[in-house]
C-alpha cells in the first residue's frame, strides 16, 4: 500500500458510520487496556514503592497528578488538531471528536489542579500558590470553559463547529502566550518537568529527578490514562454522532412534514 493510499484509508474513518462501527469494535480493548494499566500501575505505585525520603508517602499522588496534567494538555492539542481537520477537510466526525474531548479535558485539568493542591499542602504548606505552572493550568481551565460554553450556546451544529474551531485556534495561540507571560510574571515553587528528563530514565542522580522505582509504575499509569482518554473520546464521539444524527433526522422530518 502506498503512503497516499494509506492516507486515504485513514480519511475513511471520517465517515460517521464507518467511525461508529470501528470504534465499537476497538472500544472494549481500550477499556480493558486502560483498566489493566491503571489497576496495576496504581496498586504498584501506592503499595509497592517506598516512601520518598523527603516527601514521605505524599509523593504517591504523583500517579494521578502527572498523568492527569499530561492528558489535560494533550487533550487541548488533540482538539486543536481535530479543529484544524474540520476547518480544512470538513469531516463532521473530527468536529464532534473535538466537542467530545473538551469535557474530558476539563475533568483532567480539575484532577491535576485538585491533586496538585492536595500534594502542595504538606509540601509547600499551602493549597494554592500563584506559581506559573499552577496558574497556567487555571488559565487552561478557563479556556476549556469558554470553548464548551460556546459549543453549548450555538444551535446550528455546523456553525458551532466552525466557531469553536476558530476559537480553539486563536485560544491555542493565546494559551501559549499566557504560559510565557505567566512564567515571566512569577518564577515558581513547582519543580521543573522531571518525569521525561533523561536523568529519570538513566537513573543519574539529580535533586529533582523521578527515580526508576517511581518511574515504571508512573509510566504504566500514564499509559493507562492515555488509553482511558482514547476510550472516553471514542465513546463520547459515538454519542455525539448519534445525537447529531437524531437531530438531522428530526430536522428532515420537519422539512418534509
Amino acid at each position: 500500500m502506498t503512503i497516499a493510499a494509506k492516507a486515504n484509508a485513514l480519511w475513511e474513518y471520517a465517515n460517521p458510520r464507518k467511525f461508529l462501527a470501528t470504534s465499537e469494535r476497538v472500544l472494549p480493548f481500550f477499556w480493558i487496556g486502560a483498566g489493566l494499566c491503571l489497576v496495576v500501575g496504581l496498586i504498584w505505585g501506592f503499595f509497592f514503592t517506598p516512601d520518598d525520603y523527603k516527601q514521605g508517602s505524599t509523593v504517591k499522588i504523583i500517579y494521578l497528578h502527572v498523568p492527569a496534567a499530561l492528558m489535560a494538555i494533550n487533550c487541548w492539542i488533540m482538539m486543536l488538531a481535530t479543529s484544524l481537520v474540520w476547518l480544512v477537510r470538513r469531516h463532521h466526525v473530527s468536529a464532534l471528536a473535538a466537542r467530545a474531548a473538551a469535557p474530558i479535558g476539563i475533568v483532567m485539568t480539575l484532577i491535576a489542579l485538585a491533586t496538585g493542591a492536595i500534594w502542595g499542602q504538606p509540601m509547600w504548606g499551602t493549597w494554592w500558590a500563584w506559581d506559573p505552572r499552577l496558574t497556567s493550568f487555571l488559565i487552561l481551565f478557563l479556556f476549556y470553559l469558554g470553548y464548551v460554553a460556546l459549543w453549548e450556546a450555538i444551535e446550528d451544529p455546523d456553525t458551532a463547529a466552525d466557531l469553536t474551531s476558530v476559537l480553539c485556534l486563536v485560544g491555542s495561540v493565546f494559551a501559549f502566550l499566557s504560559r510565557y507571560a505567566v512564567n515571566f510574571w512569577n518564577q515558581g515553587l513547582h519543580q521543573g518537568a522531571s518525569v521525561m528528563r533523561a536523568g529519570a530514565i538513566t537513573g543519574t542522580d539529580t535533586e529533582e529527578k523521578v527515580s526508576n522505582i517511581y518511574f515504571y509504575p508512573l509510566l504504566l499509569c500514564i499509559i493507562g490514562f492515555v488509553l482511558l482518554f482514547i476510550a472516553l473520546v471514542f465513546y463520547r464521539t459515538g454519542t455525539e454522532i448519534r445525537a447529531r444524527r437524531t437531530k438531522a433526522l428530526m430536522a428532515r422530518e420537519r422539512v418534509n412534514g
Partner: protein, 218 residues
C-alpha cells in the same frame, strides 16, 4: 472606510451608547477599591497600578456586547457584508471606533483615578504608556469575541467568558509595566512584550474576526 468610522463615532456620541458608561464604570470601580481594602495610603499605592489596569480592562469589556450586536439586529451587518468593503476592514474599523470611544477615554482618565489611589509619582507616565499600548489589543480581542457571539441571545455573559482568558497576556505585561514603573524598576522587557502582543493582535486577529463574522452571517 472613513465613512464607517465616522458613522460609528457619531452613533457613539449621539446615543451616548457605552461612551460615558465605560468611564463611569471605571470611576466607580476605582472608588470602591478603598472601601473594600481599607484607606491606608501605602497599601493603596502598592495596588494602584494593578487595580487601575483591571478597572480599565473591565470597563473595556462592558461595551463589547453592543459592538457588533446593534449592527446585527438592524441588518446593517448583512448589508455591510454585501458592500465593496472587505469584512476584515469592517471589523478593524469597528475595533478602532471602540478604542476611540472606550479605550482612549480610559487612558486619559486613568491618571486622575491614579490620584485617588495614591499612585506613586513615577507611576503616572508608565500607567498611561502601558494603557495606551494595551487598550488597542483589548479592543481588537474584544471585537473577535463580539464576532463570535454576535448571533446569540445571551451573548453578553458568554462574551466575557470567552474574552477574559484572551486578555491574560495583555493584562500581565501591561500591569507589570505600570507596577514596575511605579516602583522605579526597569520596564523595558514587559513594555516590549506588551507592544509585541498588541502589534500582533492588531495585525492578525481581524482576519479571524472577519472569518468568524462570515460564518455567523450565513
Amino acid at each position: 472606510m472613513i465613512a464607517l468610522l465616522l458613522r460609528d463615532l457619531k452613533l457613539a456620541f449621539r446615543a451616548g451608547s457605552g461612551f460615558g458608561l465605560g468611564l463611569a464604570f471605571f470611576l466607580i470601580v476605582t472608588v470602591l477599591v478603598p472601601f473594600s481594602v481599607g484607606p491606608q495610603s501605602s497599601l493603596l499605592s502598592t495596588i494602584a497600578p494593578g487595580v487601575l489596569w483591571l478597572g480599565a480592562l473591565l470597563a473595556c469589556l462592558l461595551s463589547l456586547d453592543r459592538l457588533l450586536a446593534l449592527d446585527w439586529e438592524d441588518g446593517s451587518l448583512d448589508l455591510l457584508a454585501t458592500a465593496p468593503l472587505p469584512l476584515e476592514s469592517v471589523v478593524t474599523i469597528k475595533a478602532l471606533a471602540h478604542w476611540l470611544t472606550t479605550g482612549l477615554p480610559l487612558v486619559l482618565a486613568a491618571p486622575f483615578l491614579g490620584v485617588l489611589l495614591n499612585l506613586p509619582v513615577p507611576g503616572f507616565s508608565w500607567l498611561v504608556i502601558s494603557l495606551l499600548l494595551g487598550t488597542p489589543a483589548m479592543s481588537v480581542i474584544g471585537t473577535f469575541g463580539a464576532a463570535l457571539t454576535v448571533g446569540l441571545k445571551r451573548g453578553g455573559l458568554l462574551l466575557s467568558l470567552l474574552v477574559l482568558p484572551l486578555y491574560v497576556p495583555t493584562l500581565i505585561f501591561g500591569a507589570e509595566v505600570a507596577r514596575r514603573g511605579a516602583t522605579g524598576m526597569e520596564t523595558q522587557t514587559p513594555l516590549l512584550m506588551l507592544a509585541g502582543i498588541t502589534a500582533a493582535t492588531v495585525a492578525l486577529l481581524p482576519f479571524a474576526s472577519a472569518a468568524v463574522l462570515r460564518i455567523n452571517l450565513r
